[in-house]
């Protein structure tokens, strides 16, 4: 023992140490007791709360989109369906060399070179395990090409999915519409939770108007995911047993259109690619049998997705293929409104069945020098109201126009549904314009402009001036003439079908207010005149209607696109194509028992009777079973 060290009492030191160890042990047990108490609190008392939290942590609800309903024509032919297609996807975390991969795919022609920066950005921003779509629909050839080269592209693969397909593409594009990628604007309008798994939504036409029927209800599946949202295969973890039950999505309803695909094709054929619109309606139900806006476009491009170049080509096309002329296009109705104005004149007493006028080819208001020309420079001679319709004499209507008055014109055209929305079951309809004194007061700010002039009444009497109508409105008005005033709301959808049970619900025709006419003789007179337009040798459309195997009624219209200056001769040949008059025609048939009413507009078609009337005839022929394409 070291002598320098102080004397140590080993015995008492040992006792002290033992005491301290006991003390430390007590403290230790107290502290461990604290931890154990904490464990009891967490694992026994709060177990259920934490178990629920852990469940919520790992189980993610993943929406399962419903299958979109199909769209059929009135004979059950598919107009819109869902086809399996393969899309090319890239999973960023599995791709070592993203630039090399994208360049390689571009060389194979699977993606466009301009797309590379966008795809690179996309794959850099999202979660690394989330697939980035490179191409929406691969052709069989592209799939085969890629399959051979697949080993070169780890992390790139094609995946099946359902793509909306329109087998008759252009022919029905403006009626059926199309689906496009769901946008933020769409989500503001739609129920966001129901669209949780949906990528596309109806943008136009029936696809849009009947979105709520077609879409269906979203389902859910519960998937096990990790903290980063990556989906984990449940069976590998034995975690699946306690998952809540999934909810299967409810498919969208199938929609049957009143449209007849054959009639649609016949009308398209008759249009011969000219710009214009055709609407055919069953006058006794309002069912739209044909709705065409030409030129059209391939709606499949929207469903599959197109390049920016493709889209701007469609958007910037001067012929405006995306524009639905049938419901949105507004045209001066020209002489097609003469039958309706004749009703107004007869009913209001502005003229009578016996009153005649001399047509010298022009008309002047009292105390003025302005000449309102007739379309026939040499004039029609002595005409009554019947001749004025049959031979489309403008001067007769000029003469009685001021007596009818613009407000009466407005009143009667309004009864036929012009100047107001028809209420068709797709969105975007234009209401057109039928002027009145009140309208003019409200439409212009300048006090001078608010006054209504008689000269404006004169040109309104031949459907020019402020007056604008859509092809759909004209067809609906033609239908109202055909039924002697019974009106139905035009509609495209005839029935809705439950996709699971096959149970069909027919859409009830919606009857609108009748056209109020006091004297039934006036119907006889006006409709008789419309009949003679096509069946009387002097009728403007006799060349079209004279040889028909059935009786029909119609009225031609030729609407000025620009005004012809005073004393200037209008020369069709010299006028540039786009400045030529629009050709219009309304008709219904058979005359005694109308089953179809038609409105045709050919933009810059020059002559209603020569250009538009034959198209109307072709459609009626087809529908009544006399057409070359008839299949009935």
């Amino acid at each position: 023992m070291d002598l320098l060290s102080p004397i140590k009492d080993h015995h008492s030191e040992r006792r002290l140490f033992l005491a301290r160890v006991v003390f430390a042990s007590v403290v230790g047990f107290l502290l461990l007791g604290l931890v154990i108490a904490r464990l009891v609190q967490l694992q026994v008392f709060d177990y259920e709360a934490f178990a629920a939290q852990s469940q919520g942590n790992r189980v993610r609800i993943e929406p399962v989109p419903p299958i979109r309903g199909l769209i059929f024509d009135r004979k059950g032919r598919v107009l819109a369906e869902n086809l399996p297609a393969y899309q090319l996807e890239l999973i960023p975390e599995q791709v070592a060399d993203i630039d090399g991969t994208l360049e390689g795919l571009a060389q194979l022609g699977l993606i466009e070179a301009e797309e590379i920066p966008r795809i690179r950005d996309l794959s850099a921003t999202g979660p690394r395990f989330k697939p980035v779509t490179l191409r929406l629909r691969l052709t069989d050839e592209e799939i085969a090409n890629f399959a051979i080269q697949r080993p070169r592209f780890p992390g790139v693969d094609f995946q099946p999915r359902l793509v909306r397909h329109y087998p008759h593409g252009e022919a029905v594009a403006h009626a059926v519409g199309y689906v496009g990628a769901l946008s933020r604007e769409d989500l503001q309008r739609l129920d966001g939770s129901n669209y949780a798994g949906t990528a596309h939504t109806g943008k136009t036409g029936v696809e849009n108007g009947f979105e709520s029927n077609l879409h269906g209800d979203v389902g859910y599946s519960h998937v096990v995911s990790n903290a980063f949202g990556r989906r984990i295969s449940a069976d590998s973890l034995e975690l699946a047993d306690t998952l809540p039950i999934d909810e299967t999505p409810e498919p969208g309803e199938n929609v049957y259109l009143s449209l007849d695909l054959d009639l649609q094709l016949a009308a398209l054929n008759a249009l011969e690619g000219r710009r214009g619109a055709v609407v055919a309606i069953d006058p006794w139900s309002g069912e739209i049998l044909a709705l065409i806006s030409s030129p059209s476009f391939d709606p499949n491009l929207f469903a599959v997705g197109m390049s920016i170049a493709q889209f701007s080509a469609l958007q910037d096309d001067p012929d405006r293929p995306l524009f639905n002329r049938a419901v949105r296009g507004t045209y001066p109705p020209g002489s097609t409104i003469k039958p309706m104005l004749a009703m107004a004149a007869l009913e209001t007493g502005a003229t009578s069945l016996g009153r005649k006028a001399i047509c010298r080819g022009f008309f002047m208001l009292p105390n003025t020098t302005h000449r309102y020309r007739d379309w026939k420079p040499e004039g029609h001679g002595e005409v009554d109201i019947h001749d004025a319709i049959t031979r489309s004499c403008d001067v007769y209507f000029y003469e009685i126009s001021v007596d009818i008055g613009i407000d009466n014109m407005h009143d009667y055209l309004d009864r036929f549904g012009l100047g107001q929305p028809t209420g068709i079951d797709i969105r975007g309809e234009n209401r057109g314009l039928v002027p009145s004194k009140e309208w003019k007061r409200n439409a212009f700010r300048n006090r001078e402009d608010q006054r209504w002039f008689n000269g404006e009444t004169v040109i309104a009497s031949i459907g020019q001036g402020y007056m604008l109508t859509t092809p759909l409105q004209l067809a609906s008005a033609a239908a109202a003439l055909a039924t002697r005033g019974v009106r139905y709301q035009p509609h495209l959808v005839a029935a809705i079908e439950d996709a699971l049970t096959g149970e069909r619900t027919l859409v009830e025709p919606r009857r609108l207010d009748d056209v109020e006419i006091d004297n039934p003789q006036h119907w006889d007179a006006v409709l008789g005149a419309m009949h003679d337009v096509m069946q009387d040798v002097r009728g403007t459309a006799y060349a079209v209607g004279g040889n028909a195997p059935y009786q029909m009624a119609g009225k031609s219209g030729t609407a000025q696109v620009f005004s012809v200056a005073q004393e200037e001769e209008y020369n069709e040949e010299e006028v540039e194509e786009r400045l030529r008059d629009h050709a219009l025609f309304i008709a219904f048939a058979p005359f005694e028992d109308p089953r179809i009413a038609v409105a045709v507009i050919v933009e810059n078609g020059s002559s209603g009777s020569r250009v538009a009337a034959p198209i109307a005839r072709a459609i009626m022929d087809h529908h009544l079973g006399f057409g070359s394409h008839a299949t009935e």
Partner: protein
């Protein structure tokens, strides 16, 4: 079979058992302590296998480290406490120099300067985990106990210098453990109770001073403990997820490798500091309690060795090693269950990682040495 054969067989077995006992004595291994340690290690390896996502490479890595640590334990067990005591001041001095070297030239990892590369990469702070209690015990060995104020002040310096050097790195967890190992020696040596209370009271202003020295992330940890939900996706995320893991384990756990919190990456640092949460989630309250019981057994055995130790140095050292081990266990489990702030202290013998395991095992080696080199003193 003849009787003599049976007899030979039995005695043969007995001889074999006797051989194991003799081998252990020759290797200076303490059986109960080794048994407890190996059991903890076994449980640890099982839990770790699940925590590393059944990654065999990482698991074998840990197994190899465990082997190395056991060798370190065996080497330490061969050194008699007299030998250790003689070399203690030199070891302490060397450790201090290395700590200064770390601050000057050390490698930076994860925002802290902890590693030194002298042929092999290691953390000098690990040396201090043993050197500080040894130095404290060495200093008190020749003095009369309980210690007086003068020696206590010097001991405070001996503890404070390495603690502050390590806290500077910064490595708050290790600094805390090292300070604790030194303080435990003083307490075991008979630090007057009055003084302990006084020091505890003085700790409050001390803590305020410390607060000013703390790094922002350390302050954040303390604040987060007080209200983990204040930042559920940031600093509080670890504690919240850890509590969910443990709580959702319930009484019996979700089953080995079936902990959704652990397996689906919700639980951060699940193979290192937060492995106790994996244990709680997959093996439940009973599993966690069993592990704690094993720890209590090892600590108890260590304290028994300390009480049995023949001289002051071995007694204080053995007591400090055992109780520091307790501090490890307590701080880690308390941290994972959200009782104390998150400080980077692993669960001893279970958490993934090598350096601290070697030090721990060397400590156990010293315990074994103290127990097995004991000369039979006459009572």
């Amino acid at each position: 079979m003849r009787l003599s054969d049976t007899h030979r067989l039995i005695t043969g077995k007995a001889a074999a058992l006797g051989d194991v006992g003799a081998l252990m004595r020759r290797l200076h291994v303490d059986g109960p302590l080794l048994g407890g340690i190996l059991l903890i290690c076994a449980v640890g390896l099982v839990v770790l296998y699940s925590a590393v996502g059944e990654n065999m490479r990482l698991w074998l890595n840990q197994l190899i480290r465990l082997g190395i640590a056991l060798i370190a334990m065996l080497i330490a067990a061969q050194m008699p406490s007299d030998f250790l005591r003689r070399w203690t001041p030199w070891g302490y001095l060397a450790g201090l120099i290395l700590l200064v070297l770390v601050l000057v030239t050390g490698e930076v990892g994860q925002g802290a300067r902890r590693w030194l590369d002298l042929g092999i990469r290691f953390q000098p702070s690990e040396i201090m985990k043993l050197a500080v209690p040894m130095m404290t015990a060495w200093y008190l060995h020749k003095r009369r106990l309980p210690p007086r104020a003068g020696p206590l002040l010097l001991i405070a310096v001996l503890i404070a210098v390495p603690t502050l050097l390590i806290a500077w790195q910064p490595d708050l967890g290790t600094a805390l453990l090292i300070a604790a190992s030194g303080i435990i020696v003083i307490v075991l040596a008979g630090l007057p109770i009055k003084l302990m209370v006084a020091l505890a009271v003085a700790a409050v202003p001390g803590a305020l001073v410390l607060w000013n020295f703390m790094q922002d992330y350390q302050k954040q940890r303390v604040l987060t403990l007080l209200d983990p939900d204040s930042d559920p996706l940031g600093a509080g995320y670890n504690i919240i997820q850890s509590k969910i893991a443990i709580g959702s384990g319930g009484l019996f756990g979700k089953g080995w490798t079936n902990g959704s919190q652990a397996q689906l990456d919700f639980l951060p640092e699940r193979d290192t500091d937060f492995i106790f949460a994996v244990m709680g989630e997959e093996l439940g309250f009973l599993g966690a309690l069993s592990l704690i019981a094993l720890y209590v057994f090892v600590i108890g055995r260590g304290l028994y060795i300390a009480v049995q130790a023949p001289d002051t140095y071995s007694r204080l050292l053995a007591g400090s090693i055992s109780l520091t081990f307790f501090v490890y266990v307590f701080v880690n489990t308390a941290m994972v269950t959200g009782l104390v702030p998150v400080v980077g202290i692993p669960l001893p013998l279970v958490s993934f990682g090598g350096t601290s395991m070697v030090t721990l095992m060397a400590g156990f080696g010293i315990l074994m040495s103290i127990q097995t080199h004991r000369k039979l003193l006459p009572h």
